[in-house]
């Protein structure tokens, strides 16, 4: 696939498997993540079928028992967050795009980069292995609350839970290494002229995400070791009868777990920013304001975590404080979203597939954000806590962030990655089905969540008050099946376009950022001409130019003509 002379002596294994090239590693992350997404989707299909048609044999799985149900839900959550969203949004796109956007030849630490992918792959294998050990996979919820998760006999899951902790720890280690790499690359490997305030928004977002990750995950790493000791040795860090404190785990988990939402959201928003400004053919509105908002939200994200614990028995005065910070954090995100809307305003909008997904991401995420206010407010949360309202809210945030975000990125950068264009028609079909089916699943969940339907119920037909909502379960399950079938056009498009897609030139979208100055796909070492940067990345539709774009590396005609941000 790559033809440059530097790689002639590199064999197949070094080029495609044990590669230190940031682009290959980025694609490895993405492909692994997409494979895990199929698995996560399959798990969702199985437990949704159980909810819609309780105790009937699920086609393609068989009968679901209560224990298996718990394991299915737990593993669905774990896989989608840690093995789909993290590797694709942060590690995958971060690896592929950050060096290219900065005009660098590779990451700052290429071998560390390879190590981080292989650590991730080992974590994936450990997690997959946990399905097949005696006792089955982890079933204590993706949040692994003790005491349930701290003793093997409480859930009946033996090695599954231990392997789960190990896999998550390895995944964290991998993300640590990747994060160090992205930060060092951004600080030390910007090409000449690429000042910090000329970096694309996506690079800013990636760095913010990795910083947030590195500073929030530490206590949970310590906590995971303690939980491991509780599980395997029988210590009592989180066991009340031994003097331990189960609430401590909740604090450690959410001190990481809530910032993690922003770790995933920011790279996704970054890709949306690049796509929106390109397909509106307008400079992004409020470049610096967006960056400052990212910084503010990054800081605020460390002081909102206890809003997950309003009914866990925390001090009510503390709860009020966390309510306030939670509502406050919507301000910087509102600024970002309004900046995006202002970018669209009076632009010449082109509805190409990446743009559809970018707009879809904003629209759906908005619903997720607004319903978050209900859950962040103590009074309403006490009623809504642990109902399907939470599940719906969560998916209205994380689904657009993860899937609309990654599809935005894949449709937009696919020509760069594989040198071919994707089919627009299949892209439209994929978007239409995904968008509609997603809402068909989760609007019913809001409805019966508001009616008080609790989460984590294996068989809703056992509860008289839930029986009237059974038809909504069926609708949501039909939506799930439609959503999964709706991915077929994407899979066809993804693999088919590699062979039959129209050949892509260097810059098929007429974009400004540096990655579009490289050949499609870029060879090892990326740039055939080392770029120097003269301007910011969003100079679209400048009145003094014939073309409506202006690459960052284009030297100004006259010294006077240079526009600074």
């Amino acid at each position: 696939m790559y033809y440059t002379q530097q790689e002639h002596h590199v064999g197949f294994w070094r080029r495609y498997l044990f590669s230190t090239d940031h682009k290959t590693i980025g694609l490895q992350y993405m492909i692994t993540g997409l494979f895990m997404a199929l698995l996560g989707g399959y798990l969702a299909y199985v437990f949704r079928m159980q909810l819609a048609y309780p105790n009937e044999s699920v086609p393609g799985y068989g009968p679901v028992g209560p224990d298996a149900y718990n394991a299915l839900v737990t593993m669905h959550g774990t896989i989608m967050i840690f093995w789909v969203a993290m590797p694709i949004l942060v590690s995958g796109f971060g690896n592929y795009l950050v060096p290219l956007m900065l005009g660098a030849d590779d990451m700052a630490f290429p071998r560390l980069n390879m190590c981080s992918y292989w650590t991730f792959l080992v974590s994936t294998l450990v997690l997959l292995a946990s399905f097949f050990v005696p006792g089955g996979a982890m079933s204590g919820g993706w949040t692994a609350y003790p005491p349930l998760s701290a003793r093997m006999d409480y859930t009946g899951v033996e090695w599954g839970g231990t392997l789960w902790i190990l896999a998550v720890a390895l995944e964290f280690a991998s993300a640590f290494m990747g994060g160090i790499n992205i930060l060092a690359t951004t600080l030390n490997m910007r090409t000449k002229g690429m000042t910090l305030y000329r970096m694309p928004i996506f690079v800013w977002m990636q760095n913010a995400a990795n910083l947030i990750f590195m500073f929030s995950v530490g206590p949970l790493v310590a906590g995971a070791l303690m939980l491991l000791a509780d599980r395997t040795l029988g210590t009592g860090f989180f066991m009340p009868q031994q003097g331990g404190d189960p609430l401590l785990w909740q604090h450690l988990f959410w001190f990481f777990g809530h910032p993690e939402v922003y770790v995933l959201l920011l790279p996704s928003l970054g890709m949306v920013a690049e796509v929106i400004t390109n397909f509106a053919r307008k400079p992004i509105f409020g470049y610096r304001m967006i960056i400052y908002s990212v910084m503010a939200s990054g800081i605020l994200s460390f002081i909102v975590w206890a809003h997950h614990q309003f009914v866990s028995g925390i001090n009510p005065r503390l709860a009020v404080g966390f309510s306030i910070t939670t509502i406050l954090i919507s301000v910087p995100f509102a600024i970002i979203v309004f900046s995006f809307l202002a970018t669209l305003w009076r632009g010449s909008i082109q509805f190409k597939t990446p743009m559809l997904f970018a707009l879809g991401m904003l629209a759906e995420f908005l619903i997720g954000g607004v319903t978050g206010i209900h859950l962040g407010t103590t009074a309403t949360d006490i009623y809504l806590h642990d109902t399907y309202f939470v599940v719906a809210h969560f998916h209205y945030t994380m689904f657009p962030v993860t899937f609309f975000g990654l599809f935005t990125g894949i449709y937009y950068w696919y020509p760069k990655m594989f040198g071919r264009m994707m089919s627009e028609k299949l892209g439209w079909l994929h978007f239409a089905v995904t968008f509609v089916a997603f809402n068909v699943i989760f609007i019913p969940l809001f409805r019966y969540g508001l009616a008080g339907h609790q989460r984590r119920i294996y068989d809703p037909s056992l509860f008289e008050n839930l029986v009237p909502f059974q038809h909504l379960h069926v609708i949501a399950t039909i939506g799930t099946i439609a959503l999964l079938l709706g991915q077929i056009p994407f899979i066809l498009n993804f693999f088919g376009s590699m062979k039959w897609g129209k050949k892509a030139e260097r810059n098929p979208w007429n974009a400004n950022t540096l990655e579009w100055q490289t050949p499609s796909p870029p060879g090892h070492g990326n740039f055939d001409v080392i770029p120097t940067v003269y301007r910011w990345p969003y100079e679209y539709s400048a009145p003094d130019r014939e073309e409506d774009w202006c690459p960052q590396s284009l030297a100004p005609a006259t010294a006077k003509g240079v526009k600074h941000v």
Partner: protein
């Protein structure tokens, strides 16, 4: 400065911190949060359990004190090794790093001796929550010492072949960090009020 380094200097915007050193500092930043989280858990629990003082009375502060001196001295020899590199004396640096490794091994030996005594007297990780925390924190720290020793020996092997002398500084920063962690652990576990 090698030719490759000069080319890199010309290729990119001038960095304010050398890339290797920056990587180490980011790594330590994340390590600080791990140990910070573990220590905060311990401190909060200790606050709620004044009775832990009774268990803490059985820690051996004499060995703890000796180990503190051993570890601080090993940090001193590490700094001197870095200084030797600065003055282009790789042989002296190798000798000093050798002393650091010996002192590190000495620390681990004393720690093992301490664990043995405690376990023989019945103070196992399962005795009560204080001892769970004690073994967890000191064990995590000991693992970092082991990792540090492996890193130092790796750097020494490179240095013996005349390669990568800049890594002496990076591994030194890490070693000082492991030392500083002990400076927190020693008073909080051994010296905090006892009955």
């Amino acid at each position: 400065m090698s030719e490759a380094q000069a080319a890199t200097m010309d290729r990119y915007e001038v960095p304010s911190v050398v890339t290797g050193r920056m990587g180490m500092w980011w790594f330590l930043a994340s390590e600080i949060v791990i140990f910070g989280g573990a220590l905060v858990c311990y401190l909060l629990s200790r606050w709620h359990h004044p009775d832990w003082a009774e268990s803490a009375a059985h820690t051996n502060e004499v060995i703890g004190l000796i180990n503190t001196v051993v570890l601080l001295t090993s940090s001193l020899t590490m700094v001197l090794a870095h200084d030797a590199i600065h003055h282009a004396q790789p042989k002296r640096a190798l000798r000093l790093m050798g002393v650091t490794v010996l002192l590190g091994v000495c620390f681990l030996g004393l720690k093992a001796l301490e664990y043995t005594h405690e376990i023989q007297e019945g103070y196992t990780p399962l005795k009560n929550l204080f001892w769970s925390y004690y073994y967890f924190l000191t064990g995590l720290h000991a693992l970092h010492i082991v990792a540090g020793l492996v890193a130092i020996v790796t750097v020494m092997r490179g240095l013996a072949k005349g390669k990568n002398s800049q890594r002496v500084e990076y591994v030194g920063i890490y070693w000082h960090f492991v030392d500083v962690v002990w400076i927190f652990l020693f008073p909080l576990l051994y010296l905090a009020p006892k009955i």
